[in-house]
């Protein structure tokens, strides 16, 4: 959670989620030619501009061919899909197992929250003791093999992730089998998990970025499960061993699940091992269905500011955005390119304007969060309190510009190059390959997704970018979430829209202090 290395590293730009996940591009800034130039070193010797060739960037050769990883796919009789990707570049093996759904069909918020608490507990506790091994024995054995094992639940599925030095991959498969087929959910581990989870909730809410994301999702997704970022203390308190084990048995089985094995192994041999370990995994009799009832998303009718009060904040975190598209939508690629132009990466409009021109922020970005059933778009930054309202207005102006003015061909091509470059770079690692393949299966992306990705990006037109910006970025009624010291922010923010002041759990604050009054 916190990297204890305060003096080690100050990056120029924060690596978000993953280096290759988001970022992108283009805008020429006028160079401030009136300013005095000092500190330039002596130029290279010579008489008449020997370095004239340096004036322009070098021309590049044609790009060298890019090959996608070869995937071998099989399906076991129990419904489990297993994919093998031999990759001998590094002597390790990476395995991901994805199991939908993480959360069962809809109900009220309280019911959904308790389902979420169960899903999270079940996913996290399967590695705390399995088969004949205690939690400690399992951890020790995994680590002794030169391995790493983790499990978690996200909005769309539960995932077990595993890495191991190549020569111990088959032995790790045995442990993986125990975790998936025979989780023990020991009473003592469940009790400890419950006590600690109530307290890690408190730790999560220390972090302004968590608060901003939680509040934003709550507004945009409403009573859909995507609107819930964390369980409540009451829903954690209500957990017990029997409920968790039952939830696991009825929700997580081989049907619809996907195991992806990437790395330095022989695929035929690995398939024999995978079959030995996972073919006996039994599908539950009464598995919860993955079909949710009609989705019910809130519809905003005004531009409103949700101000989460975090007293003595040194800065304000804000997010501006709306409901957008699910990952399998045809609009996803145009929106991705639009987002790349606007706010993905250090060459993007938001970065060059709000950071490099205005100096309002260190980190400024926009992001497309496209999940299986729905998604969001938002722009965000962390700014000093005095300029927060100005930075928000500047960002909204950039949203408008993208919808109002058609993007030029160079900027458009640059954005596409960036996205396709990130795609290629993300396939440099086993984890990147496994993650991309997992998304195909868990987010309904279609079998030709990897093959078609680059050409789908290339096919996006300037008109489509503009349309995507108008539909999903340039909302008249965006949700604006600000996390910071309300006593210093409320007045300025009222110039942007009506302000709701909330506590860190999202509950309305009593209108007692003068700054809280509308």
């Amino acid at each position: 959670m916190i990297n204890h290395h305060p003096n080690q590293e100050q990056p120029i730009t924060r690596a978000r989620i993953s280096l290759f996940a988001l970022l992108s591009l283009v805008l020429l800034l006028e160079f401030l030619s009136t300013s005095a130039v000092v500190g330039s070193p002596q130029r290279a010797r010579g008489k008449k501009q020997p370095d004239a060739w340096r004036k322009h960037p070098p021309r590049s050769d044609a790009p060298r061919p890019f090959t996608l990883p070869a995937v071998r796919e099989t399906r076991f009789e129990n419904g489990l899909t297993v994919l093998f990707v031999e990759d001998h570049r590094s002597p390790i093996v990476t395995i991901l197992v994805g199991m939908p759904p993480a959360i069962a069909p809809s109900g009220g918020i309280a019911e959904l929250t308790s389902q979420m608490a169960l899903a999270e507990a079940a996913a996290e506790l399967i590695t705390e003791g399995a088969g004949s091994r205690s939690s400690e024995q399992l951890a020790r054995e995994v680590e002794t093999l030169g391995g790493r094992l983790s499990s978690s639940a996200n909005d769309d599925y539960a995932e077990v992730a595993l890495s191991v030095v190549a020569e111990n991959a088959e032995r790790m498969m045995d442990l993986l089998g125990d975790v998936l087929l025979h989780p023990a959910f020991p009473e003592s581990e469940v009790a400890l998990y419950k006590r600690n989870r109530i307290q890690t909730l408190v730790v999560q809410r220390q972090d302004p970025a968590f608060l901003a994301g939680e509040q934003f999702d709550r507004i945009v997704f409403g009573s859909h499960p995507y609107g819930i970022s964390a369980p409540t203390p009451a829903s954690i308190d209500a957990l017990d061993r029997e409920k968790i084990a039952q939830f696991y048995r009825s929700n997580f089985g081989p049907g619809g699940a996907v195991a992806i094995i990437v790395g330095d192994f022989d695929a035929s041999r690995m398939e024999i091992k995978a079959r030995e370990v996972l073919a006996g995994w039994k599908e539950p009799q009464k598995k919860s269905t993955n079909v949710r009832e009609a989705l019910d998303f809130p519809r905003a009718t005004e531009r409103r500011v949700y101000l989460v009060n975090r007293p003595v904040s040194e800065q304000a975190d804000f997010r501006i955005g709306t409901l957008a598209v699910k990952r399998s939508s045809a609009d996803y690629f145009p929106l991705l390119v639009a987002n790349s132009i606007l706010g993905a990466g250090t060459g993007s409009r938001l970065f060059l304007n709000i950071r490099e021109r205005k100096g309002y922020a260190y980190d400024v970005y926009s992001s497309v969060g496209a999940l299986r059933e729905a998604g969001s778009f938002f722009g965000g930054a962390e700014t000093r309190t005095e300029v927060t309202a100005r930075a928000i207005r500047e960002m909204i102006a950039e949203f408008h510009r993208l919808g109002a003015v058609k993007v030029g061909p160079r900027e458009l091509q640059g954005a596409k190059n960036y996205l396709n470059g990130l795609f290629s770079l993300s396939l440099s690692t086993q984890g990147g390959v496994a993650e991309r393949i997992m998304q195909i299966h868990m987010l309904d992306l279609g079998r030709d997704y990897l093959e078609g990705y680059r050409s789908r990006i290339e096919a996006v037109t300037a008109e489509q970018v503009q349309e995507a910006a108008r539909k999903y970025i340039l909302s008249d009624h965006p949700a604006i979430v600000v996390v910071g010291d309300a006593s210093k922010l409320a007045k300025d923010l009222r110039s942007i829209g009506p302000v709701d002041v909330l506590d860190i759990e999202g509950k309305p604050l009593k209108q007692s202090a003068p700054y809280l009054q509308r």
Binding site: R54, P57, F66, I92, E136, P208
Partner: protein, 462 residues
């Protein structure tokens, strides 16, 4: 029956781990090296497994080279490297790299500053053009300095001032190190950032950003002789500067301050940080200290995780770090603990475990375990995770540059693992006895006072 099987497989594991040439140990990164007349040290590593290339430029300067009154300056300067040069406009660096399908970043450390580009291999010349232009002709203007100072101040707020625990952890460095060069923070103070002038930027550039004070590494889909010709073309004519002054980073054995407590206005859960000063990376004891730290802290079977989080259930998480500086560094344990447990009680559990290692040593099984973890980590644990580990051309470029600049020996990218694997249980025990001693231990209790007035009286923790 099950138990018997698992015992058998456990023995098999040990045998496998002791085999002399496992696949993970035969992994080799190829490279060649040369030095330009201007002193630029260059390493090339050709590998055609993907059509990508990484370019890394390391400068031998960090926050330890700063002068009093200018903390944070090395990092502010790093930002200025993106503000334009003779042929590259302000911030155009970002656009050139990203619009050609690449990523980039830079980072300032206590003891070095690095820049990298990771992009399609047909764009190698572009990265060399950009890196050479700013090395030879950085443009420094007052408006750009003001703009980047504002950005860096927001970075300080974002990464430190507005986060739980971080302001306290910066204080740890001042408790561990006596020498100001080591003790002050890389992010610096707001008033020092305000004091920085355009003249400071110019003289820092002239002093430290010289080819003879830098290492250039290119790794990935290249032709070695073509890449060498490009390097000579772009960097060969940049003049050598006067060698920069050496910085004294020497330290007494003991820490500067042994105990302190601090109120954290963003924390709702208390925490404690314990740190011990340790010798420089690659010194003889360093590898044993690394093993010791991993046995204590790394992974869910680590001793302190088992004690603090599981057995005694006083902590929510435990994190160990070994700061591998070129001069004295530190090994630290940081743990967020429960409000109903006193800081001293958490510390006592940590101390008891350390005393047990001093008395009884570590087991052969533990040592095998952490060695296997190091073999895995080479391919997973770069500064940006897997993306900058040895799996990628970027990770290989960064590692080669570090070994070249710090050790003068890029071959350590292949050989260093043997030094970790050679550590014995006795060496780990001796390292604990030598370094994890009271005179060399700094302890900071972090009190959670979120929602309270700073400095208000507190109970429970000292």
């Amino acid at each position: 029956m099950k138990r018997l099987l698992s015992t058998v497989s456990f023995i098999a594991v040990i045998v496998a781990a002791l085999q002399p040439a496992t696949r993970a140990q035969t992994f080799k990164v190829p490279f060649s090296r040369f030095t330009l007349e201007n002193g630029l040290r260059v390493v090339l590593s050709e590998d055609h497994s993907a059509p990508v290339v990484a370019v890394a430029v390391y400068y031998d300067v960090g926050s330890r080279n700063e002068v009093k009154g200018r903390t944070g300056f090395a990092h502010l300067f790093e930002h200025m490297m993106f503000q334009g040069s003779e042929n590259v406009r302000k911030a155009a660096h970002f656009r050139y790299i990203e619009s050609n399908g690449g990523v980039l970043n830079a980072a300032t450390h206590s003891d070095f500053t690095n820049f990298y580009e990771f992009l399609p291999s047909n764009q190698l010349a572009l990265a060399l053009w950009l890196e050479s232009d700013r090395m030879r002709s950085l443009k420094i203007t007052a408006p750009n300095l003001k703009n980047q100072r504002d950005a860096v101040k927001e970075e300080k707020r974002l990464s430190y001032d507005n986060q739980a625990y971080w302001p306290a952890l910066l204080k740890m460095d001042e408790m561990v190190f006596s020498n100001w060069a080591n003790a002050h923070s890389t992010i610096g103070s707001m008033s020092d950032l305000d004091a920085a002038t355009v003249t400071d930027v110019g003289s820092f550039f002239a002093t430290y950003y010289a080819p003879n004070n830098a290492v250039l590494v290119i790794a990935g889909d290249i032709n070695t002789s073509e890449a060498e010709a490009l390097v000579r073309k772009y960097f060969g004519s940049i003049p050598r500067h006067k060698p920069p002054p050496q910085v004294d980073v020497s330290e007494p054995f003991e820490v500067a301050a042994r105990t302190a407590a601090i109120d954290d206005t963003h924390a709702q859960m208390p925490a404690v940080s314990l740190a011990w000063k340790v010798p420089a990376r690659h010194s003889p004891d360093f590898y044993a200290i690394a093993m010791l730290k991993s046995i204590l802290c790394d992974g869910q079977s680590a001793r302190l995780y088992q004690k603090l989080v599981k057995e005694r259930a006083v902590s929510l998480e435990v994190q160990g770090t070994l700061e591998a500086r070129r001069g004295p560094g530190q090994v630290a344990v940081f743990t967020i603990h429960k409000p109903d447990t006193r800081s001293e009680d958490v510390q006592a559990i940590v101390d008891a475990e350390i005393e047990r290692i001093k008395a009884e040593g570590v087991t052969a099984d533990e040592l095998i375990k952490v060695k296997n973890q190091y073999r895995l980590d080479r391919f997973l644990a770069g500064s940006e995770g897997e993306n900058s580990s040895l799996q990628t051309a970027l990770g290989r470029a960064l590692a080669l540059a570090e070994f070249t600049m710090f050790d003068g020996d890029p071959s350590l990218i292949n050989a260093e693992m043997d030094r970790f694997l050679a550590v014995t249980a006795e060496q780990v025990r001796d390292a604990a006895r030598r370094y994890l001693v009271p005179a060399n231990k700094a302890v900071l209790s972090i009190r959670a006072v979120s929602g309270q007035t700073p400095g208000a009286p507190q109970s429970k923790t000292p």
